[in-house]
Symmetry: C2
């Protein structure tokens, strides 16, 4: 009780709202699937038993760190907080079933803002993870908008697609965009608006409303993929995570990348950025990078990027040289978008 | 990548640490049970399938709202963030199996602080939820220390103990302290230190290191309890939640409470607080309030507080009058500890 002090006022038309009012609104927006036996409103949610293994993942988005409300709306944040979490579930080859969404709200947050957030979060569930439900969470006061989501998913059996498992000879394939979300972020940080030329609008949409190919992860598992990761920190570093965990090296096919980089050619003119750096080091694409045994017919959406080789000196190679792009780290000083070319 | 900018430096002996270093440290502190097939380090954790239903709950603790680092150590926050979450799992009659812990860390957080947090969190798991494991989470930068924990648990079958289910004639019983944690908070807010007289030390410990009787929830379910809630917002309001959800009224036995209030008699002298207000409206005791069919032998630790009656005008009654203490709400203005007597 006294540990839950002054919110400073969540308001609606000048009236201060109670937590009860807000929870009631959220319970109306968040739809529950049949597998949810008890949803919002008790001490915990209850999910129906499932014969396969359970997977669980969590991501926290913080205003001023992961987004700015100057360029992302509450709805954008609601969508993205779901997208980044169901992406991790898909990357295990699992199907999202339930999400809990905890919100830290700054004083004077308006009820309509919470509603916008919640509606977009539900839309993201409907589009990216149909059959999943937002089953609970927590509301608190916080100095800045803070969103912490935990996603739960189920596997068909006991096999999950880990980062370890890639074998020499496997095909490396990817389903998603590369560098587009990072280009969108650069545009937004420079004050770009949504409705400009198509390429830029697409980049901004990729940053604000990512659409990870969640169900594609389960298809990769079913056809026999050996390892998988969602590309959140950049292709080069996420590929190195598979390589390091699997004890192999990944060799990218250099004939594929000029086309990928040329699709981002406009970023050099508009933003002064190197398209190659965006492709290899731009984060938040949330595509799926997987390795498949040779000869497997790749699931729809996956395109080859290279091959797995026995472990060499470097994790990720292209044209006989290491692919060595810097990447961002939560705890290291970042100095700007990397611009050097391989 | 570029969405994960400058942390401003998580430091150790003057060196800036990478997120990789911190995750490696956490992976060493957090022990995994056999039911965890994949723990920290992949896109998601993998938990072994279980034949019963799954329960899930989440709580966010924010510095300046739920605690102050002036009176709570990082270890206290680590312990409590686990305790409040496994309490919710126990309150469903379930057994905690896995937790994900997401941390928003202010710039210049020292690695030793994160270690203290993590070790105490693991100690809380070991003591309060043996068999459960911290399987993952997220690290981010944040303006103030922000801890978001999601707890997952399993039921033996498909029955959970909800707030709804109490029936007229049931016995109302409680396992835990009442008002002690709120008294501890008042002491801490007034600058109280840990090692004073025993009663005060106990109150401060109840506030900083709550010990919810988690396994007692499963015992209540097995002997046939009809409804249950953990008392986090105060006895009166949490009792009213059972009453309202069940469509009944709860009548407290007035002969029991003078003894409970007299145990807090020192708060009147030391803090100017009304012991009765603490008993009925003091929050964060995290004991279990449950209703049992008449004649059931109460599980160890539960003591009767009253009976369930058909629904009357008020949710919670004592000596023929409504028990009507104000309680705190995240979104309403709080003005101080309630002092009026029933």
């Amino acid at each position: 009780m006294i540990s839950e002090p002054v919110h400073g006022g969540l308001t609606s038309g000048g009236n201060i709202l109670s937590e009860h009012d807000v929870v009631a609104m959220l319970a109306e927006i968040f739809k529950s699937d049949n597998a949810v036996r008890v949803g919002i409103g008790d001490d915990a949610a209850v999910l129906a038993a499932h014969p396969g293994h359970t997977v669980v993942s969590s991501d926290m988005l913080v205003e001023g760190v992961d987004f700015e409300l100057a360029w992302a709306s509450m709805a954008d944040v609601g969508w993205k907080s779901i997208a980044v979490n169901v992406s991790d579930i898909g990357a295990m080859g699992a199907r999202p079933t339930a999400l809990v969404v905890s919100l830290g709200l700054p004083p004077q947050t308006h009820i309509e803002q919470v509603r916008d957030f919640a509606r977009a979060a539900q839309e993201a569930v409907d589009e990216l993870a149909p059959g999943a439900s937002i089953v609970g969470g927590d509301l608190s006061r916080a100095p800045v908008l803070t969103v912490s989501v935990t996603a739960i998913g189920v596997l068909d059996g006991d096999r999950a697609l880990l980062r370890a498992g890639a074998r020499p000879g496997d095909v490396v394939a990817y389903n998603g965009e590369l560098g587009l979300a990072a280009a969108g972020l650069a545009l937004l940080q420079r004050g770009g608006q949504r409705n400009r030329v198509a390429a830029m609008a697409g980049a901004i949409d990729a940053q604000l409303r990512p659409r990870p190919p969640v169900s594609s992860g389960g298809e990769a598992l079913r056809v026999g993929a050996t390892a998988m990761i969602d590309v959140s920190d950049g292709l080069a570093v996420d590929a190195s995570r598979i390589a390091d965990a699997s004890g192999v090296s990944i060799h990218f096919d250099h004939t594929i990348f000029p086309r990928l980089a040329s699709g981002l050619g406009w970023t050099r003119v508009e933003l002064g950025l190197d398209p190659w750096a965006l492709v290899f080091a731009g984060g938040e694409d949330f595509g799926l990078l997987a390795t498949f045994p040779p000869g497997v017919v790749l699931p729809e959406g996956f395109a080859p990027l290279g091959v797995v080789a026995p472990r060499g000196e470097n994790s990720v190679m292209m044209r006989g040289r290491p692919v060595d792009y810097p990447h961002w780290d939560h705890f290291e000083q970042a100095t700007g978008l990397p611009l050097k070319q391989p």
